[in-house]
Structures are given as C-alpha cells and as structure tokens.
C-alpha cells in the first residue's frame, strides 16, 4: 500500500533523482569510451562528473541584446520540470506526493520543457539557439500526442489516474507485456522530452549544440543536468506505469523499485547511441500518421480488455 511520505521527503526526491542521473551519466561515459575504442577503467566512469566543477567554475556569458530574463528562466525550467515530474513517482512504498491525478501531473510537468527550451532558444538572441528552440517545439508537436495516449492506456488499464493505483493493478501481469505499443511509445517519448539520443535534434551537433550553443557556466550545468534529470524521471515513471512498481519476491519494495529504475535508465542510455538523430521534419509525419493511430488503437484494446474482464487479465 503506497503512502504519502511526510513533507520533507520533497527534498529527498531531487537527491534520489540526481543519484540515478549520475549513474546514467557514468554509463553514458562508459559507452562513449567503448565507441571511441578507448580502454575502460573506473576512471572512465567518473570522468563525465568532472563536468560539474568545470561548469561551476566557468564564467557566465552574456550575448548582446539578449532577453536575459527569459533565457535564465528557460534554462532553469528544464531541471525544475524534471524534479517536479518526479514527485509523484512511488519509490517502494513511499511517494513524495500521492496525487489522485499523478499521471496528468507528470505529463504537465514534462510539458514545461516546451516553454523552457523555447525560451532558452529565444533568450540569447543568436541564430543557432533560436533554431534549436524552434526545433524542440516541432519535435514536441510530434512526440506529445502519442505519449499522452500511451499514458492514457496505462491509466485505462488500471482505471485510475493515481500512479500508485496503476502500480498496484499490475499484480498479475505487467502492463509492459500486454500494452507493448504503449510502452515503446512511452520510452521514445522519454528520449524526446529529455532531447537525448535519437531525439537530440534541438541540441544537435549540426547546430553546434543548438540551445546549448551560447550557454556556459552554471547555466550550462543546469541545462545538461536538466536533460539527465528528465531522462531519469521518465525512467522512474516507467516503473510504476508499465513494470509493476515495487512488486517482486524476496527483496523489499524500495529495492525492486531501484533495480527496475536502474534497468530502464541503463536501457535508455544504451538505446541513445543506437540510432542517428531523427529530424522533426521527417518524424512529425510519422508520429501523426502512424504513431497516433497505433497509440489510439492500443488504448482501445486496453479499454476493451478492461470492459470485458472487469479488471486486468
């Protein structure tokens, strides 16, 4: 039975999220070293974390005629969105905030990146960040609706918008097993809203970093950390939505939550390197013409199953 933790637990959420994000970053560094034919050693795992002191000590940049308010606000919105999205995720038997509409809250918080990245692109008054910001809006229009339908599928399967209820309704069979399309669309959506991997279009190398092209210092740390926090929050949310939450034999619930979250995080980090960047102008048509009907069909299938069996299979 998932209970809401006391109020101070809201501070634990960023710490936990940062912990998993650190693991993700270290794993990513390991894979990058393997891809570059470099020898892997424990130092390779710790190397990406040298970013933190480097960026903290770096000088902040200003650009002429920038809209500084919007710029900083936009950059700050990225990690804030990640942390806020994670407050509804149950970890074991505890959750920082047990909202009756947790799924919608998660969706609303990750949508904050739309505003954040657009502002981060507009703020510096430079070409490449501006193109990057608009690229994210284009990508957002493509990934958002399939993601919403995937979330609706999971909520319909448990007949509740409460994340803890959804985790509890998977006692017999994980949702990832009988809602595979929704699960796949959800994982793609996680990459998309954290603009990593095949959906790294807004911060792409062809834009010399895109939204990150003019940022340095602590602002850059916020942006980069924000991406990884969003990825981790998305991975954490996949566990109660599709993988049964903290349920499992032998180990306590929080251990299972941690193991499953770690598995999803590592799978996402591995999947990040497999594909080239998918551009929004090609992806948008695919998302609207193929993925949305698939996601709707999946939701319909789930609804039919629930109606006929009166619950989950």
């Amino acid at each position: 039975m998932v209970t809401s933790a006391p109020l101070w637990s809201v501070l634990v959420v960023p710490a936990l999220l940062a912990g998993f994000a650190t693991v993700a970053v270290a794993a990513d560094g390991l894979l990058a070293a393997r891809a570059a034919h470099r020898r892997v050693s424990p130092a390779v795992l710790a190397a990406p974390l040298a970013e933190v002191p480097r960026l903290l000590a770096a000088q902040r940049r200003v650009t002429p005629a920038a809209d500084t308010l919007l710029w900083r606000l936009g950059l700050a919105a990225v990690p804030v969105a990640g942390v806020l999205a994670a407050v509804v995720i149950p970890f074991g038997q505890l959750t920082a905030s047990r909202m009756s509409v947790g799924v919608v809250w998660f969706n609303a918080m990750e949508v904050l990146t739309w505003a954040g990245l657009w502002m981060a692109g507009w703020g510096p008054n430079a070409v490449l960040p501006l193109i990057g910001g608009y690229r994210f809006v284009a990508q957002g229009l493509a990934y958002e609706l399939p993601l919403m339908f995937a979330l609706i599928s999971a909520a319909a399967g448990a007949q509740s918008l409460d994340v803890a209820d959804i985790a509890g309704a998977q006692g017999h069979l994980w949702f990832a097993v009988w809602m595979p399309a929704a699960f796949a669309v959800y994982l793609a959506g996680v990459h998309a809203f954290s603009f990593l991997g095949p959906f790294g279009y807004p911060a792409g190398r062809d834009l010399a970093g895109g939204v990150a092209a003019e940022v340095s210092g602590p602002d850059r740390l916020m942006l980069e950390a924000g991406r990884w926090l969003l990825l981790t929050a998305g991975a954490g949310m996949a566990v109660p939505l599709f993988l049964g939450g903290g349920a499992g034999p032998l180990m306590p619930a929080w251990a299972w939550s941690a193991v499953k979250t770690l598995a999803v995080v590592l799978a996402l980090v591995w999947g990040r390197r497999r594909l080239p960047v998918i551009r929004a102008d090609r992806y948008a048509e695919l998302a609207w013409v193929v993925l949305i009907p698939v996601a709707i069909a999946q939701a319909l299938a789930v609804a039919l199953v629930v109606l006929t069996t009166g619950g989950t299979p």
Binding site: V101, W114, Y134, D281, R282, V289
Partner: protein, 186 residues
Amino acid sequence: MTTAVFWVLAPLAAASGFMVFRFGSMARATIALLVSFLASGGLLIVLGLAYLGTVVILMMVMEMVIMAVFMIAYMMNPAGLMPMAMFHNKRASLAISLTVFALLAAGIFVTRWPRRAGTAPRDPTFRLGEALMGPQMLTMVTLGVTLLATMVGAVVLATHRGRYDRFGDDLKRRPPTDPARGGVGR
C-alpha cells in the same frame, strides 16, 4: 495553508495578466500570459479540482508556446525594440475595464453563495464532470473528435498548394513535390 497559497497565486495571476499589456516584447507578453494561466491552474487545484487544474496547466503550456511562435512570426516588432504603443484609446478602455471589474467584484461579494450541504465528495472532479456532462457523454466525445477534424480540415483548405500542385495534373506523380519531404512519403 490553502489561504496562503491562494493569496500567493491570485495576485500573481492578476499581475502577470496585467503585465501582458505592459511588456513591449511579444515573447515576454506570451510568457506573462502563461504564468497567469499557470497561477489559475494552481487556484483550481487549491479549490479541490485537481484534474481540472492539472489539465489547465498541461494545456496552457502547450498552447502558449504555440501562440508565441505565431505571435513572433506575424507581429511586427516582436521584441519591442522599437517604441510602439501597445494600448489604444487609453482613457475609454481604462474606464470601461475598471467599471466592469468593479461590477464583477461587487457581484461576487454581494451574491449569496450557497452553503455546502453535507460533506465534500471524494472526487469532486468526477462529480463535477458527471453533473455537467453525464447524460451527454457520447455527444461530448463525438464533438471532440469533430472539432479536431474541423481544425485539421480548415488548415488543409487554407493552404494554397493543393493536390494538383503536389501530384501533378494527372494526380499520378509519386513522390509528391513538396518543399520538404515528410517522413512517411505520402
């Protein structure tokens, strides 16, 4: 606690709504409007309508970002860098708006609001939805899809490139000539 949250969110909503017209930059005006909407969504959550409030936040963020794109594309001087008068007919509009505000405020304070009979329902959003739309659920669902189809159809009708531009006079050219190819090759 809820009173404190109310007294933070309500002035924020009103002030940022006011700032929409003070900012010369279209981007800032849109973000100010977004903040106002977010505060209104928060107020709905405080009122106990969690679903409505969260959905307002979700929808408004997406809508304001799309609105920002269009405002900046179509407005002259979107960054407010040239001095531009944002208001017109200042005296009359100020008088009208203050009068309407006073009337509404008076109405709110003077009305006898009904007292709650019994206890609050466990899920006020559900009850509210049922009361408003209960007998017409099918109509609502159909209307939603119809609205979407209408919007898509309107955009398609508005583009000046039609089927004959894309597929040629005999509608046989494949792939169609578009300035940028889509991903599915329609």
